[in-house]
Subunit: 304 residues, 2 copies
DNA sequence: TTTGGTATTTTGCAATAGTAAAATGCCAAA
DNA sequence: TTTGGCATTTTACTATTGCAAAATACCAAA
């Protein structure tokens, strides 16, 4: 039983899950529970557990099944070892598109040849790109890339959109605070402020920041706001993954994040909404100032 | 050369195009121009023209090629004759899903059997549904439907989202008025107010109204706002297609639409934005009142 | 009942070839 | 140059079959 992509992906997620939960040694890992949680059947879960066991990260219970053992945190390796081909290919296509190496219109065969993909891999990629909204099918043959966040204009557009929906989402009538995830994000931001920010990688920083904003908007319980922000973030990620973030600005944003979460945790929603507005508009201004003088693909102030 | 789906679709679009342009008899239809406009190659355009010619709606020029003839409006038939199988199937699946006849999780085979589809048809359908955001792939096998606008809650959510973005879009700095489409929409709305509303079908009414709102938001030139509204509208269409609209309320909305466009055409953007806000919130209230007493799937006030 | 073990069924990807349809390149005429 | 006619190339859908992997059903033990 070789690890299929799904199996190693699941192993990674289970390890991550355990790192977050941090259960005491000897806790039983119930196959059905995990299967339900990760929305797959027991088969791949079982194989993933097997895999983690052979890596010495899980023990076996006397009566069968796997249990956690007392694993020092260091030995929950970032299971990135198996570089997910799909993800890499996805980013590569995005970069090629941003660099204008890919024409606006492409056929499936072209892509398949160019990136040496099987039909299935290509189908998966196109599905993903489609659902993220930067490609569409032409009526006849082939696909057309949609304009992405290539220009500063589009960039500013994305911030004005967020400036509209994020403060409004906090004032939604159905807004209910999810304390746990917010407190987790707050801690993360505090650690960044306390110095981690100077060592963490740009993509990781980007992810932490967008995770915080998404955690907040999810409290609105309005899926239109939630989806709206997530769609913007996925596009922004493609743009910002290639930039290195200027930590001198980023740290200011992180401080603001902490303050923002504190307002929310104190149930001061109106103040939080106002603060969000101010937070986003200052990021926006910064971006413009920052990109005005330098090349579009230069250093980004950014974060959020 | 039988008409393929693409060809009959193009014939329909070309007829519609001509009805809108209303060129004088004898105007030459340039294949390459049409091909570019509809983003296909010349082949299917040529076949579509051929088709329209055999239906007696186009003449031939002395030196080859097709020209328009003096066709009374009545004889530009709504080319709906060939019921697009894909579209019908799409609506059927949406309805089945809304009626809870389809489980939350389905496999491709299940769908293929249930609706008697070929692999390709199914792939096309899934792609479309995916891009509209109400289905997603599971990590293993199969697909999961996402919660749609099934509840009144979600319904109200969609209006609050619009209430946030639509008035804001009018105030976007990049806002530039597209007079032609707006004036066309205004005329359409005026005709509705003048009595057409009592005879036009519910889906047609829905389309006219959403077209107006989309025409307005497109002036913002901010693709995040534009996309946001379009996504909401696609979902709303699925819900509202099954409802018959109460014309006594709808006509009020149409009058407001005329007024709204007039404000825009007079360049009173601030007033237009305020008016939009009031317009949307009254629709929203109406919806709630209307659905509160009756069944969810009863008569909708609606329109916008 | 809950759980893991095992066997069985089902799924959907891969590879292939054939084919209709769409895209494209070239040419001649206006 | 613009345009339509025509021929050719390319694309992507269809329909196979085989197979690995995922889902599922059933059973026994705790």
């Amino acid at each position: 039983m070789q690890p299929t992509p799904l199996i190693s992906e699941l192993a990674k997620q289970i390890a991550e899950h355990l790192r977050a939960e941090n259960p005491q040694a000897g806790t039983r890992l119930v196959e059905r529970k995990l299967a339900e949680r990760f929305r797959v059947s027991r088969s791949p879960i079982r194989s993933a557990l097997q895999l983690l066991h052979t890596q010495g990260m899980l023990g076996v219970a006397g009566s069968g099944g796997f249990i956690t053992i007392d694993t020092p945190e260091a030995s929950w390796p970032e299971q990135e070892s198996i570089p997910n081909n799909d993800e890499a290919m996805y980013l590569r296509i995005a970069q090629d598109r941003l660099d204008n190496l890919l024409p606006e219109r492409v056929t499936e065969n072209e892509l398949q040849r160019r990136y040496d993909l099987t039909r299935g891999e290509l189908a998966r990629l196109l599905r993903r790109i489609l659902s993220e909204g930067w490609i569409e099918r032409l009526p006849g043959h082939g696909w057309a890339f949609l304009p992405m966040l290539t220009s500063i204009e589009a960039y500013k557009d994305s911030y004005r959109f967020r400036l509209t929906i994020e403060p409004a989402a906090i004032l939604e009538p159905g807004f209910v605070l999810d304390r746990a995830p917010l407190e987790a994000c707050r801690q993360q931001q505090q650690r960044l402020v306390d110095g981690e920010i100077w060592s963490v990688s740009s993509p990781a920083l980007f992810d932490m920041n967008s995770k915080l904003h998404e955690a907040i908007i999810e409290c609105s319980r309005n899926s239109f706001f939630i989806d709206g922000l997530k769609r913007v973030d996925r596009l922004r990620r493609l743009m910002e993954y290639r930039q290195s973030l200027d930590r001198r600005y980023a740290i200011i944003r992180c401080r603001e994040h902490v303050e923002l979460v504190d307002l929310l945790l104190a149930d001061r929603r109106l103040d939080a909404s106002k603060f969000m507005k101010q937070h986003l508009s200052s990021v926006s201004v910064e971006k413009v100032m920052n990109t005005a003088g330098t090349a579009v693909q230069g250093v980004s102030s950014g974060d959020d």
